[in-house]
Symmetry: C2
Subunit: 233 residues, 2 copies
Amino acid sequence: MTELLWGSTPVPSRGPKPAVTLTGIAEAAIRIADAEGLDAVSMQRVADDLPVTKMALYRYLPGKAELIAVMTDLAMGTPPERPEQPWRETLHTWSMDLYDGFSRHPWLLLSTVGQRPIGPNEMSWIDRGIRALTGSGLSGSEQLDTIVVLTGHVRTLALQTTTMPGGRAGLTEEALLSSFTAMLTDHADRYPSLATALQTAEPDNQGLQFGLERILDGLELLITSRKGSASGY
Amino acid sequence: MTELLWGSTPVPSRGPKPAVTLTGIAEAAIRIADAEGLDAVSMQRVADDLPVTKMALYRYLPGKAELIAVMTDLAMGTPPERPEQPWRETLHTWSMDLYDGFSRHPWLLLSTVGQRPIGPNEMSWIDRGIRALTGSGLSGSEQLDTIVVLTGHVRTLALQTTTMPGGRAGLTEEALLSSFTAMLTDHADRYPSLATALQTAEPDNQGLQFGLERILDGLELLITSRKGSASGY
DNA sequence: GTTAACTGTGTCCGGTGGACACAATAATGT
DNA sequence: ACATTATTGTGTCCACCGGACACAGTTAAC
């Protein structure tokens, strides 16, 4: 599977011209997933959108898992270019860019779950994030862990707020709040702390920003403490 | 679907005794998911482990989605009782408890993705988390957002480190690191920042702790600033 | 004892991912 | 020009999935 994501297509010489390309297949799959959700992406459905039959797809892909992997990396794309800025601002916009990516292709939240090979585009996202932290004084592991925390938070919030065509997921914070409150009217006694918290809760849709600021605050604390103690290090 | 999770079973009077119970079905499904992964949980497979046929299950559940919902809430359980402590310590152990839960039932990471009804047990986890923040000076929304950040982080790390029987997911941090490095030996020039970060990276498996401390640090910063400015509020 | 409510079963359907044999095509070596 | 051969495209088949539905079996209430 790794070859499909990273390797170059070894243009064939003999035989009939291929009717489609790997990228073409992935693009068709992306169109379907965008419009009808990831569940709608089946080999048959993809083939229907191309001048080819279902089984012909297996000439380009070993199986569906590989299709998902390829379309995932393709849809992820590369992070947009941004002007140079201090690490905190850079990571902030980087996170927002990532969030936008998930908003554009909500099914990415489903296809990027579980063990899977990492494609070149996904790798470039990581690289860009790390770049913001070079010279921060953080160790390599800490830089990587930072990216993990940020992507995790962005994923979580995107999962809660984004609407998916396939029906799965997608609640605004208001809807989430109201469904909570509805559930609690019957069982307020079982969840006293949650009940009182909901009374003073406003649907501000600020979950993404809130968590982001907390994480960046905590990070800043660590970085400045490092800078302060070890000067020439 | 909500009734199944929250409502009580309206014990039937007439007719033959039910051969199984809803909880029994859910427990069987949990056993299968624990041993063979969530994908192995099919109506047929569950029925095979019980003294009923596949279609009999539909007498207890409208469909598979409901089965997943019920078994998810059941496997989630209630958070373990912990002695009273300051909010930071409480949230820390709460997060670790949650992580343990995901480790025990890795498929929860897959079944808790997307829009779905929230069960009573899951609700109790939220309530317990919120409880730690009562009296912290944070607003209801902020308390909820805090729980979101923490669960998100725990989920992310559990997803990366836990091994799933179904084959999906499950890399130790070492394995992740080595696969990264392997990928980069060929494309170090494309990802310069990541490459240098990996050189100084050690597989310490500290991702969970690192992120947790950052988040809690950021939170503490907010809480103390609130306490300092508005005294009697 | 009859009735009515409820549980359990067998059959059928469309859809899925995929194996495999086979037909069509086109560039190559002679 | 022609036969060779690698490669692509197709049709058929399979097991499995979730689920609809009609029907048989069981048991408590009247």
